[in-house]
């Protein structure tokens, strides 16, 4: 039988330069991120804990303090940052240096799938029917890569990345951005949230990324008489802190006004200086800034 050489033994390239093309993609991400002081991944793994609302409000709170902030909506299937930051329907300028992000509430520069697609359109691809499982993940990673590398973010102090639910999505981000400057874990006091978010914490640590803090969302609500009451039994956020050794950086109480404001595209944190929820988010922004002191671009 003839002996065929292995791939590695065959030295010459075919002329496609596939490896160079892939390395070029990575180089473009690095080049773009070089002008960004800190990348902050807002992560949970669990859906419905309020990651996007926290991201939008944290972004505007940081911007209110004078920082240059970008917000990247990595949730391609359920995008919401465009709406929450008040830029839904705005066009994107095809600049020489890349696609210009849209400037939203508080001056935050935004890129989200909800800028690109029709309002009621699910994420779909121009592709043959069937066998989508073989390439759909690659396509989503490709879009995320282009959001990082091809958007002309400019000089930023912070780029906040709203990472969608599902621990696999965290892995996809880390494939492109192996070392975010900070990773915040968002959870609620619910035990089921703790259960899922603990998996995300482990996945991050196994990938060499240490989350910096926990954001406990919807920790309590204020009743009609003004009394603060817990929204969930137990305290999964504190349990998560004990389990992971991480500190709870913010406890954000449930506030219907926060939901209303973000639905209107005008995040709460820049308008409200009295509610406990706004105060918690502003305090979170201060904490993020302290942690990043001296790391700005």
């Amino acid at each position: 039988m003839r002996k065929i050489r292995t791939y590695g033994q065959v030295e010459h390239e075919t002329g496609s330069h596939i490896l160079e093309q892939v390395l070029g993609q990575r180089a473009r991400i690095d080049q773009r991120l070089a002008s960004i002081g800190a990348t902050i991944a807002i992560v949970s793994g669990k859906g419905g804990v309020g990651k996007s609302a926290i991201t939008a409000n944290l972004a505007t709170a940081l911007a209110s303090g004078g920082a240059r902030v970008g917000a990247l909506d990595a949730d391609l299937n359920g995008p919401s940052l465009g709406r929450m930051l008040g830029v839904a329907g705005k066009p994107l300028v095809d600049g020489d240096d890349g696609v210009q992000p849209v400037t939203g509430a508080g001056g935050v520069r935004v890129m989200s799938m909800d800028l690109l697609q029709e309002d009621d359109a699910p994420l779909r691809w121009r592709a043959p029917d069937g066998d989508g499982f073989t390439w759909r993940g690659l396509a989503e990673t490709g879009v995320l890569r282009e959001f990082l590398s091809d958007v002309a973010w400019g000089e930023l102090d912070y780029l906040l990345i709203d990472v969608p639910p599902g621990t696999d999505r965290i892995g996809r981000l880390l494939d492109l951005l192996p070392a975010p400057s900070q990773t915040l874990l968002v959870t609620t006091p619910a035990e089921i949230a703790r259960f899922v978010v603990a998996k995300s914490a482990r996945l991050l640590r196994d990938a060499g990324v240490t989350p910096v803090g926990i954001v406990a969302n919807m920790t309590a609500y204020v009743d009609h008489e003004g009394a603060t009451r817990p929204l969930f039994e137990g305290d999964g956020a504190q349990a998560l802190a004990a389990e992971t050794g991480l500190e709870v950086w913010a406890e954000v109480p449930f506030d219907p006004a926060l939901g209303t404001a973000t639905d209107r595209g005008s995040p709460f944190a820049i308008h409200d200086d009295v509610s406990a929820a706004a105060a918690a988010i502003v305090a979170l922004a201060h904490r993020v800034e302290r942690q990043n002191h001296g790391r700005h671009a």
Binding site: I4, E11, G15, S16, D96, E118, R124, W135, G142, V143
Partner: protein
Amino acid sequence: MKFLCVECDRVMAFAERQIPGDGTLAAVFTCPGCNREMAMLTNPMETQLVSSLGVHIGGRTVPEQPMEMTRSSLQDTRADVFVEPDPAASPVTRVDWHPEAVDRLGRVPSFVRGMVKRIYTDWARENGVATMTPEVMDRARSELGLEGM
């Protein structure tokens, strides 16, 4: 992926790429030793797989364009998402577009129109062409190997 001419024990070199239809990507490779040619044909799923990676078999004739994969792959896009920058804010050398070229560009889907226009404009600048016409577009397309643009 490499193709080895077993007879000559040499790597076949990329020669030509075509998109003949049915979602097929055809890449022709030639053996530099015996000149034997072979065509690699991908089925639609394999073509999509390559496209999702954002790489071009046979290499690139123009640099990767901003959000190229997103623009070429996404369905149900909003009309006129991408707009051109204010010309006054762009200091680059001007390339005039003949009305017939504008008309032809207008037939390109709006989601990728800006990207396609930039590719043609860059080519015109690099080749000292001051006015973009359909003929110039044909030349650029042929030279750059831009299937379907």
